[in-house]
């Protein structure tokens, strides 16, 4: 059942003058209401009225551990599940047998922002972010390498929870 609001329209006869005056009162009351416009470069979504959903899926962020190293263990699940094939992962292994990514690159132009990489990650390392300001002067700059992914500071997406579909 979809919640559709059905307007009850008068299907017989209505008035001119009084209905017009009533309508004018309604529109004039809107004159003083808070405006919905975001004056973008000066105001951004951080400032209260216009907030992004916590489930927003924007450009990625790699979380790091206490030593500042990427949490990624190079298991290879994210390039495996990625429908856009935009993650490039070359795994490496140190002397103690810990796996880590030698190369970890995400092509943000190819990415479809489905969030599967975050869902599938066993270490909660790669995340999609609550973030939308991504302008660059060069196409090459849209391939984010590991260093850049770790350096991002914006909040990460909470994704959609099937157990709590309305996010309550």
């Amino acid at each position: 059942m979809i919640g559709v609001k059905v307007m009850r329209r008068p299907d017989r006869e209505v008035s001119y003058l009084r209905a017009t005056l009533k309508g004018m009162a309604v529109t004039f009351s809107h004159f003083f209401r808070r405006k919905a416009t975001m004056q973008y470069p000066e105001q951004t979504s951080q400032e209260g009225f216009w907030t992004l959903s916590p489930r927003w899926r924007g450009t990625h962020r790699m979380l790091t551990d206490e030593q500042g190293r990427a949490k990624c263990v190079a298991c290879g699940l994210c390039p495996q599940i990625c429908p856009a094939n935009c993650i490039k992962l070359v795994p490496g292994e140190d002397e103690e047998g810990h796996r880590y990514p030698l190369i970890y690159e995400i092509d943000e132009f190819r990415c479809v922002f489905c969030g599967y990489c975050q869902e599938v990650c066993p270490e909660e390392a790669i995340h999609v972010g609550v973030h939308y300001e991504n302008s660059e002067y060069d196409r090459q700059r849209f391939v984010y390498d590991l260093e850049r992914l770790c350096a991002q500071t914006h909040p990460v997406s909470s994704l959609w929870d099937p157990a709590d579909p309305k996010g309550e």
Partner: protein
């Protein structure tokens, strides 16, 4: 050249150029008011980036239009296609020529370096052309504007434009009837057509909005149709006719149409405030009615204040036009014709009879043309307005679309 002729030419040129400039700036400002006002009524902000508060936005748009390509549709009637924008533009400005916009100033008598001795016999009326035919001139030229719109639609060789033009001609001719009949009431009360005399009469008896309320309501409704503004903007009807009569126009030729529309809007507002709201009359004082014979600070102040009052009244009605535009949806064509012919026309005819009778009785009783005269007519109007708003207008007038399809849930 005699000093009197020089004075006449100088004063006329000054008035004409000044008024034209004021109207042009006014049009640009009103477009700004419309855009910002529309935005505010819709919980938006509107254009606010070009210049302070976005005031220069329309000038920027005008420049843009100058540099756009002029497209001539194939099969268009070249001559008429070029002429049509001018035909809708010129009447809108011409109409303002007979509207008085302030209290008269004293005459002029001075010597200028190049012109020599200049004399203008007072009083110097603040109206470009104080024509004895008064508002008949406005009626004549507002019907001339029909040609501009109709020819624009006709000459473009486009079905949408043609439909818009046809709608415009039928609509404007129909509502001219309502305008003319409501002005007959004004003529009956004031006894004369020059707008200066009508303002003077209102200063004695009170504003005609109280003496002829129903005529005012009809005039205002018809003014929406005459200026092709919502709820009667069927000639444009973006949803049905692309852009209606100016669908095929581009660049500056296109920009002239909105320019003409807003000039007509200002003129109509000025006309309404002159006919029904006392023109430049400042209410509750007789100070503005004195005619100065010599230049003094008071005479200048009187001129400036009456100008300001006239401007305020006009701007108020401009705002009402804009306000209604962003409140009401567009009428269907049959509803438009229904309102014009079956509601406004009979109401106007009955109203003329009632007012004419009242005036005849008042004249027989020898009531002088002062506040008592106005008060009696006001008392005649009260039951009529009550009848109109709570009787005729009560669920009996506007027929909604019959529901042909019933959707079963």
């Amino acid at each position: 050249m005699s000093p009197e002729l020089k004075g006449l030419l100088l004063v006329s040129a000054f008035k004409a150029v000044g008024l034209f400039a004021a109207l042009m700036v006014g049009v640009i400002m009103v477009v700004w008011v419309e855009r910002r006002g529309a935005a505010m009524l819709q919980d938006r902000l509107g254009p606010n980036r070009v210049g302070p508060l976005g005031l220069l936005q329309n000038i920027a748009d005008g420049f843009k239009n100058f540099f756009k390509e002029e497209v001539m549709p194939s099969g268009a009637d070249r001559g008429l296609f070029q002429l049509a924008p001018l035909l809708s533009f010129v009447p809108a400005f011409l109409m303002f020529a007979v509207i008085p916009y302030g209290a008269p100033l004293p005459g002029l008598d001075f010597t200028l370096p190049l012109l020599g001795h200049v004399v203008y016999e007072g009083p110097l009326t603040m109206v470009v052309a104080d024509l004895p035919i008064g508002f008949l001139f406005i009626i004549a030229f507002s019907s001339l504007a029909v040609y501009g719109i109709t020819l624009a639609g006709w000459s473009a060789n486009s079905k949408y434009a043609l439909l818009g033009g046809l709608r415009a001609s039928a609509q404007m001719v129909s509502y001219e009837l309502a305008i003319g009949l409501s002005l007959i009431v004004v003529l009956l009360i004031a006894g004369n057509v020059p707008l200066g005399d009508i303002v003077a009469f209102q200063q004695q008896t009170g504003w005609f909005v109280f003496l002829a309320t129903v005529a005012y309501l009809m005039f205002h409704i018809a003014a929406f149709a005459e200026t092709n503004r919502l709820p009667f903007d069927l000639p444009e009807a973006e949803a049905e006719l692309v852009a209606g009569y100016h669908a095929e126009y581009s660049a500056m030729k296109y920009a002239i149409f909105p320019l003409a529309e807003y000039a007509a809007l200002i003129t109509m507002s000025a006309f309404i405030s002159t006919l029904f709201f006392g023109g430049w009359d400042i209410p509750f004082t007789a100070w503005d009615e004195q005619v100065a014979t010599a230049w003094s600070f008071e005479a200048v102040l009187r001129g400036a204040l009456t100008n300001a009052v006239f401007l305020l009244k006009t701007l108020f009605f401009v705002w009402v036009f804009i306000w209604v535009r962003w409140t009401l949806p567009r009428f269907r064509y049959d509803q438009l014709m229904f309102l014009g012919w079956k509601v406004l026309l009979p109401v106007a005819l009955v109203y003329i009879v009632v007012i004419a009778t009242a005036i005849l009785l008042l004249e027989r009783a020898g009531v002088p043309h002062d506040l008592r005269y106005g008060f009696v007519l006001f008392l005649v109007n009260v039951p009529l307005v009550v009848l109109l708003v709570w009787g005729l207008d009560r669920r009996r007038v506007l027929k909604g679309t019959p529901r042909r399809v019933r959707v079963e849930a």
